[in-house]
Amino acid sequence: MVEGKERLPREVVAMRVAKELPDGGFVNLGLGIPTLVSNFIPEGGVVFYHSESGVLNCGPLAEEEEQDIDLINAGGQFLQRVPGMAFFSTVDGFAMIRGGHVDVTVLGAHQVSATGDLANWMLPERGVGNIGGAMDLAAGAKQVIVAMEHTDRQDGAKIVQECTYPITGKGCVSLIVTDLAVMQPTPDGLVLREVAPGWTMEEVQELTAATLIPAPDLKEYEL
């Protein structure tokens, strides 16, 4: 039984995603687990952060006493002023995204389908939602990685054969990293690449509403 079985902490999920970021690449991080990714860039590596709030080369978050309302990220968090920053308008910020200049975006999701459809902007029961920059990132970033908990709090599947929630982008997700597994959506279905230590493919499948196709080199979560 998978109920109550220990899953990986959010930090480990973030650490696993960090491995995927290209050295020297431009990266846009969404809220939640994605934000944590910046804490786990491998030693000696450099990643440049883009925020659609209008700043490139963002650094760490600001301490409370140095909060400046004119220096925020797209999540409304306050940033430190660091050397090498550049400010720009929103239209230029999204030109960077849509124009294919942002290498990777890491986003959270409500649902991801086996073929990489992403749903992360509206819960149907609310009837209204925020798109923000998610659709542009889904359509424009060279690579879209989803980092999230494998299921919702009631163990309901978030990884599904077909999204039932309104989608953000079609076939845009190239990798899903959760607290149980690393999966790769493909046109032929969802390939399971890695599983969390102590978990089997069957157990992960139990919590996944899409059919998992084991990769030939299926292995344990690799950090």
């Binding site: 004119d70 308008s89 239209v91 079609k170």
Partner: protein, 470 residues
């Protein structure tokens, strides 16, 4: 034959058409001479595709590194700014240029023109800037010699198949005449000293009607000798008091209090204008979830006009609180059915705003293809990728938040508070900027100006005692 006008006199005559506050795009050749004869600090701004807005006569040692349309170095006037080619084109297409002055090789009674460079590159027909100037000026003035070097008429009855602009010329200024183009016909309004209607008509290759009050050309620059009008308004109520019920208003900030025109928002609430459509990235989330707000503070945001029942519709990308359990004023009004919502992805919103201000009627974007956002919109595969068609957005008013402005409306921002403000400013009929400080023209570095004064109509200083928080 009587003497013809020299180039500078022609430029003086062209400048006599200009009025306080106008933006004037000039081409190379004769139009470039206008910069040489304008009074210093004249209340108009010349726009060169060399990247200068608001410049003066050519000076070999100008030092600013900017040039006029003919490539000669010029100095920026105080309040001038450096603009890129894409800005030049956007100002023209977006209707921000009041007068365009071009030198054609040929003009016709229907107002068609053929640029001089087009005519001088047979077969290749390279127009350079001419097509953009012809299409983009509110008024198009053609400056050209009345005849070619072989004596042939430059004003001709029939248009060339390679015309650079159709039905665009409003006024023709030559070295012997001033001719108005009216409903496909030419009216001779002025002749050079010593010239008669018959003499001018004989050198004109199209029918020419004399005006009832045919005059002698006499340049008059009185209108350009007045001081430049300041755009500074005494306070919020005087700056937006004329906003009618039912107006469409752009207001921004990225969501948090940074970059939000709080003082104008409170002014708008207090004056009670109703039936508003608000175009904004967010609509009242700083107040409810402290987005971008220092802890323990309650920010003034769009909620103040929503709570006051002034808003009927929002066009936004992030309209509701990220927390379902803490709904914003707008979400509550939406649930009650009191407001409409058009949801737009953030980058599409930015691009639609840019399009509205830059004279782009519509564009194809990949964002939202295959989603709910695509419903009812044209979808099209271009180069193997799916796009949807989105249209430009414009508004009656735009309330933006700058850091500093000069009295001509040039604006600089602070940090991420630039965001949507700089994108919206060109897209409204009346753009009002709330700033911390107003300085004199020339005090802002022309390389640093983000929003040129072309896009700003009114300036209000946020009162010192005013707080963005309650």
């Amino acid at each position: 034959m009587p003497q013809k006008l020299d180039e500078l006199t022609m430029a003086l005559r062209a400048a006599s058409e200009l009025r306080q506050g106008q933006v004037v795009a000039v081409g190379s050749g004769l139009p470039a001479k206008i910069a040489e004869i304008l009074p210093a600090q004249a209340p108009v701004q010349l726009l060169s595709d060399g990247g200068a807005l608001g410049y003066g006569p050519s000076q070999p040692d100008a030092g600013a590194g900017v040039c006029g349309p003919d490539g000669r170095p010029v100095a920026l006037e105080s309040g001038g700014s450096v603009v890129g080619m894409v800005d030049w084109a956007a100002m023209l297409r977006g209707g921000h240029v009041d007068v365009a002055v071009v030198q054609p090789a040929r003009v016709t009674p229907s107002g068609d023109l053929l640029g001089w460079t087009t005519a001088a590159t047979p077969g290749l027909f390279a127009p350079g800037r001419t097509v953009d100037l012809a299409a983009g000026g509110g008024t198009v003035i053609a400056m050209l010699p009345h005849t070619g070097s072989d004596g042939s008429a430059n004003i001709v009855a029939e248009s060339s198949p390679v015309a650079d602009g159709r039905s665009c010329v409003n006024l023709i200024i030559t070295d012997i005449a001033v001719i108005r183009v009216e409903n496909g016909a030419l009216v001779l309004e002025e002749v050079a000293p010593g010239w008669s209607y018959d003499e001018v008509a004989a050198l004109t290759g199209a029918p020419l009607t004399p005006a009832d009050d045919l005059k002698e050309i006499s340049p008059d620059l009185e209108a350009l000798k007045t001081a430049r009008h300041s755009k500074v308004f005494p306070d919020g109520p005087s700056a937006i008091g004329d906003m009618p019920d039912g107006a469409t208003v752009m207001i921004d900030g990225f969501g948090g209090p940074g970059g939000m025109a709080h003082y104008l928002l409170v002014t708008l609430r207090d004056q009670g204008t109703r039936g508003l459509t608000i175009i904004s990235n967010t609509i009242g989330i700083a107040r409810i979830v402290n987005f971008g707000t220092p802890a323990g503070k309650l920010a003034i945001d769009h909620s103040v006009i929503v709570d006051n029942g002034q808003v009927v519709k929002a066009i936004a990308s992030y309209p509701v609180s990220p927390s379902m359990s803490r709904p914003s004023s707008f979400e509550l009004a939406y649930r009650r059915g009191e407001v409409e919502l058009e949801l737009v992805p953030q980058g599409t919103l930015a691009e639609r705003l840019r399009a509205g201000g830059a004279g782009i009627y519509a564009f194809y974007t990949p964002t939202g293809a295959g989603t709910l956002i695509a419903e009812g919109k044209e979808s099209r595969v271009i180069d193997g990728k799916e796009y949807i068609l989105e249209h430009g957005l414009k508004a009656d008013y735009c309330l933006i938040r700058g850091h500093k402005a000069d009295t001509l409306g040039n604006v600089v921002y602070k940090g991420t508070s630039r965001n949507f403000n700089a994108v919206m400013a060109p897209s409204a009929a009346i753009t009002v900027v709330e700033v911390d400080e107003v300085v004199e023209p020339g005090e802002l570095d022309p390389e640093l100006i983000v929003t040129p004064g072309v896009y700003v109509d009114r300036i209000v200083i946020r009162p010192e005692a005013f707080s963005a928080y309650e």
